[in-house]
């Protein structure tokens, strides 16, 4: 875009970058990662890119993208999540095609001895299993297991009650396990009652 490096100082002392430069830097350095994150929610590459672009526009329109890239990325991720959960993927559409979703065979696990084939097979199986989840359950799973959020943090991010998040996670885990077999013990989603006291690993 431009080679400008214009920065100024905000009232709180932090560095503020002109929004066009911040947008350019964010797209170039974190654009793909954001698409990957959005893909976990949409399951469709084109929808994921559209979702990221909509989230970027919303974030920068509201003046929330002008700090450091990491800070701006957090706002965009939040916008991606909000946009998705609020209806980017229509629930009715999901309901009407749910029965058409492919049911993968149980897949071999990943592990030290796993070659590329099992990894790819597992990835595809997980993608297909994720497609069976309604949007809110899917969002809960992504926040809990990809973002490593606690149940309370998931509830806060989605503006849901803790009990509702537990129910979504429980239902989602049951659905995923019905397709993928048991989920490993280091993923605590099926110990829903214990997650509030879990100490999550740092990212």
């Amino acid at each position: 875009m431009t080679g400008r490096a214009v920065r100024c100082r905000a009232d709180d002392g932090s560095t503020v970058t002109p929004w066009p430069d911040a947008l350019d830097a964010l797209v170039r350095t974190r654009g793909r990662a954001l698409v990957g994150y959005a893909y976990l929610l949409t399951g469709d590459a084109r929808e994921a890119e559209d979702l990221v672009q909509d989230a970027l526009v919303r974030t920068f329109t509201r003046g929330r993208g002008t700090r450091e890239v990491a800070s701006a990325e957090a706002y965009v991720r939040r916008a991606i999540l909000t946009t998705y959960v609020d209806g980017f993927r229509r629930r009715r559409h999901w309901a009407t095609i749910r029965h058409l979703a492919a049911v993968p065979e149980p897949t071999p696990p990943d592990g030290p001895d796993a070659g590329p084939e099992p990894v790819v097979t597992t990835r595809m199986a997980v993608q297909q299993a994720l497609a069976l989840l309604p949007p809110r359950e899917r969002a809960c799973i992504v926040l809990r297991h990809f973002e490593d959020m606690t149940v309370a943090q998931v509830a806060d991010a989605l503006s849901l009650s803790v009990g509702t998040v537990k129910r979504y996670l429980s239902d989602a885990t049951r659905t995923l396990e019905s397709r993928l077999g048991s989920l490993a013990d280091d993923e605590p989603a099926h110990h829903i009652d214990e997650v509030l006291v879990d100490v999550r690993r740092s990212r």
């Binding site: 793909r32 954001l34 526009v57």
Partner: protein, 385 residues
């Protein structure tokens, strides 16, 4: 054997990221992508700024105010005492508990007749409008468990999360299978109701109707109702100012208590220009009123004239037709009957009869994609008489 879900999710995300060219510094389209995003941001920022008005600073006893002015956003602050879902309340007060699930799709009928519908956050929101109401499309698939019968579906227009306009309609608590709706519309011979489809909660009122596009005789596309939503400020200050707003939906029971919240959908209120940006040719018929906006072209066309005016809003056709209808009524003692929608094709249509001209106005877009209205003027039956 088991699957490590966290690792698998990271693998899925990494693979999707790797497969995408979005933001790829080696991809020549990235520059264009960023520029396109920046343009969208600028447009939306400009629209937001349009809702901000400048008022002169004043103070009792001030000697002379020369120059200094304050820029004030006239959006009202949220009233902490306002009940959820009422005028000047904050959308943050809308209930969002487990019994408040409200599933609604909103959309709009565009100027060219196409219809869009989607959940909150979908691309087009509920469109851009310059007059006093939105041609809203509504599809309610789930009402809050806490809602009682009778309930009303209440639309909330908000600015900076404060409710600035409201509209509402009674909604059926009992759901209707969408398949049955379509069968009633199109007949079971055309659409056997083997698949009941999804269930919908109908808005009551004779002014609404179901709309649906059948694809190969099967259930496809949205089933929704069409209803107008007013754009008048709920505090009595008149029409909403041009700018960017959000639309939320809630339900209200007989006691006036709100249940559920869905939103936001983006809404833009465009400034209604009353003048053209440039002068029309001297011999262009003066009595034919054109919608305000940027004059794109005006030139002789056969024995008549053609003109195009760039004007915002999905209702630009409606605005243009209203002006022509008024002009027709003024120019003829015995006004010609005018169909409510000249594009409907319901009746033979020669155009609005203004002075000695028959005038068609057609919502269109310029070569650059800017919304516009194209006018075709033909000599009327009395021309040259």
């Amino acid at each position: 054997m088991s699957t490590r879900l966290g690792l698998a999710l990271h693998d899925v995300a990494d693979a999707a990221a790797h497969a995408s060219a979005f933001g790829d510094t080696d991809d020549g389209t990235t520059v264009a992508t960023v520029q396109r995003l920046a343009s969208r941001v600028r447009r939306r920022r400009a629209t937001r700024a349009a809702g901000t008005v400048t008022v002169a600073a004043s103070a009792a006893g001030a000697v002379a105010l020369v120059g200094p002015q304050l820029t004030a956003d006239l959006s009202p602050a949220a009233d902490p005492d306002a009940d959820p879902g009422t005028c000047r309340s904050s959308v943050a007060t809308l209930p969002s508990g487990p019994d408040d699930a409200l599933e609604v799709d909103l959309g709009f009928a565009s100027a060219n007749g196409t219809e869009t519908l989607g959940g909150p956050g979908t691309g087009g929101g509920v469109g851009t409008w310059q007059a006093d109401s939105v041609d809203l499309l509504v599809s309610v698939s789930e009402l809050p468990a806490a809602a009682t019968d009778p309930s009303r579906l209440r639309f909330l227009v908000t600015r900076k999360e404060v409710v600035v306009a409201t509209a509402q309609q009674p909604v059926d608590r009992a759901p209707t299978p969408s398949g049955q709706v379509l069968a009633d519309l199109y007949g079971t011979d055309r659409l056997p109701v083997e698949d009941p489809g999804t269930t919908l909660h109908a808005l009551r009122g004779s002014e609404t109707f179901w709309t649906q596009t059948l694809v190969d005789g099967s259930l496809a596309g949205p089933v929704a109702q069409r209803t107008p939503m007013g754009l008048t400020a709920c505090d009595g200050s008149g029409p909403l100012l041009p700018g960017e707003y959000d639309v939320w939906v809630t339900t209200v029971d007989a006691a006036g208590t709100a249940h559920g919240a869905a939103g936001p959908w983006e809404l833009t209120v465009a400034a209604a220009d009353t003048r053209l940006s440039e002068r029309l040719p001297d011999d262009f018929p003066r009595d034919v009123p054109l919608i305000g906006g940027r004059l794109v072209a005006a030139h002789p066309h056969g024995t008549g004239w053609a003109a195009e005016v760039a004007a915002a809003g999905e209702d630009r056709g409606r605005v243009a037709w209203g002006l022509l209808a008024d002009a027709q009524a003024q120019s003829h003692d015995d006004p010609v009957t005018v169909p409510p929608d000249p594009l409907s094709g319901a009746t033979p249509w020669d155009g609005y009869h203004v002075d000695d001209w028959l005038v068609d106005a057609i919502p269109s877009r310029t070569a650059d994609g800017e919304p516009s209205v194209v006018y075709i003027l033909r000599p009327g039956p009395d021309a040259g008489a």
